[in-house]
Assembly symmetry: C2
Homo-oligomer: 347 residues x 2
């Protein structure tokens, strides 16, 4: 109750500041909500701009690709990690654009990276999950290990000074896993199922059957999020859930990207409901189920550009808007400062 | 026909490049369309990043405010110009954020600026338009003068090296004028009328009556855009139309902002249909009529953040996305370069 009272005082102070900037009340729309949330996260009327922005792309393979659910062969996961480390992927381009460094986490790629790279984090749980149409994707021990590894990675990022985090996911088959997680938590498969990479109707039908079979065979327990992760999850998604829980417990904002990162958020939210106070939805992806998950968590996406690439691309681009919102409340003149007359909407 | 053929060859080359970047076909959604359009505008497969970005905010007063259609008193137009020149308005904050200089055009503010400022352009047609509920907003000579002044301003900007332009509008009463222009061109007032600044229902009803009376008394001729401008236009809107026509004739892209700048685009489009090939819609404003105009011109807004401030704020924020789209096609690795396997969607 104490906390709630202080939060209301802070919220009133932030709103007073927003309403006294030289613009009609509320006319900067969602930017004002972003500024308010950032103030509440930082416990400041006038939030600071992020000083160290980082994008963490969690890469892993998914055993379910053996069921023929993707347009791409499995080895693309490994190849794309190399592309990330060489700076040639979309997320590298957008990371540079918004001034954020890109880190790649090997959460469980089927292949060894036999070199070290300052932006590659080895957190491998295994060489891809097992095919969850035939049994659990991983063991319960591995599921718990995913959460713990994800927490460690967030802890280190924050100890190194990071104050704004973007989550990305890479792994052929990841939207099939994200669909299975969503269905395991009770979402209707018809509202979720969609193509991730461009696939034909036959492939989409195989994707549906794989998810339905995974649920039928494994019977994940929606009341036990770790059981859901074990039965139909992915190494990347489990680590991202742990990452979100740790970062938000330290009051560091996390921007999620598309459907797989949002499925990880769903898992994190089931484990720790307070995470949502510190999370921004970077964009609404074109993957149908993404909006369904965002709506369930009452999160409004910042961008809506029909993207469906993943890697953190939508989250990265949203940084520019988040920073604009912070600069708005930091730099705009107030009516009093600027000698501008208030309108009949003034408070 | 020659031009069409060359354009198709260029378009094919740009699409081939886009489809060979290391991502599934089309997975960067609208960013790919932006990159394509920018390539066609610049006549290059790989478009250049803009070197000189400028925002032009056209300020003017509107005689119709005498009918009590706004939440703000008329002198706010003058005061906000001073705020722009002092760098304290939202558009200044966002201009700095995206690296664009803000120029303010006095198209017809009711008051003299008795000083010079490097970012203030004196293009005053008069001290605000006449109240168009009682007769034409301006003379036909003034309407033509608006178009010419707007062209001159664009010409100078481009001669000074500007290669990306954002349009903004400031003027108490501007959404009433934009509504009148829309209705004059045949749009249904019920689909257009909305609040600009926050006003109550009585004020909104006065706004409707003012527009209906303006149309009834002045009988603007939809087949003669200059007549529409004369009868129910604004000095700012006329100058922005001229600005758009000149800039696009020189193949310099223009980003429009909210409802008034889009009403200016409507006017420019009626005068010169080819302008749309060079125009981006920065955002969808919360003002209802804005989307109706954008749809009529088949323009998709880049951002959708419930903003309704004007000043060019939505256009300015869209620069970050436009630049990201250009960087995507410039900097991303291709499948061949990166040694990444193509998918079944490859062409």
């Amino acid at each position: 109750m104490e906390k709630g009272m202080f939060e209301n005082v802070l919220k009133d102070s932030i709103m007073r500041r927003l309403n006294n900037l030289t613009k009609p009340i509320g006319s900067l729309g969602y930017l004002e909500k972003i500024a308010l949330k950032m103030g509440l996260i930082q416990n400041k009327v006038i939030p600071d701009l992020p000083k160290v922005k980082r994008i963490y792309v969690f890469a892993a393979d998914h055993g379910v690709v053996e069921q023929g659910v993707s347009a791409y062969p499995k080895q693309v996961t490994y190849q794309m990690v190399l592309n990330f480390l060489n700076g040639g992927a979309a997320i590298n381009v957008f990371g540079r654009h918004v001034g954020a460094d890109v880190y790649v986490v090997d959460a469980g790629v089927d292949g060894d990276f036999e070199f070290t790279h300052p932006n590659l984090i080895n957190a491998k749980i295994g060489y891809g999950t097992a095919d969850f149409t035939k049994g659990p994707a991983m063991t319960r021990t591995q599921a718990i290990e995913c959460i713990e590894k994800g927490k460690e990675i967030a802890k280190k990022a924050i100890e190194e000074g990071t104050d704004l985090l973007v989550l990305g996911d890479m792994g052929i088959g990841n939207t099939t896993t994200a669909t299975a997680i969503s269905v395991a938590f009770g979402f209707d498969i018809d509202e979720i199922l969609d193509i991730g990479t461009p696939i034909d109707n036959d492939t989409l039908e195989r994707k549906r059957q794989a998810v339905e079979k995974a649920i039928e065979i494994n019977k994940p327990n929606a009341d036990d999020p770790i059981d859901v992760l074990e039965k139909v999850g992915g190494f990347c998604i489990g680590q991202m859930a742990g990452f979100i829980i740790e970062a938000t417990s330290r009051h560091i904002p996390v921007v999620v990207d598309g459907f797989p990162t949002t499925a990880a958020l769903l898992l994190a939210w089931k484990l720790e409901p307070s995470v949502l106070d510190f999370v921004f939805a970077g964009h609404k992806s074109k993957v149908k189920g993404h909006k369904v998950l965002l709506d369930a968590m009452n999160l409004r996406p910042i961008l809506d550009l029909d993207m469906r690439l993943g890697e953190g691309t939508g989250g990265a681009l949203a940084i520019s808007i988040i920073e604009a919102a912070i600069k708005m409340i930091r730099e705009m003149a107030t009516f009093d400062d600027a000698g501008v007359s208030k309108g009949s909407d003034s408070v």
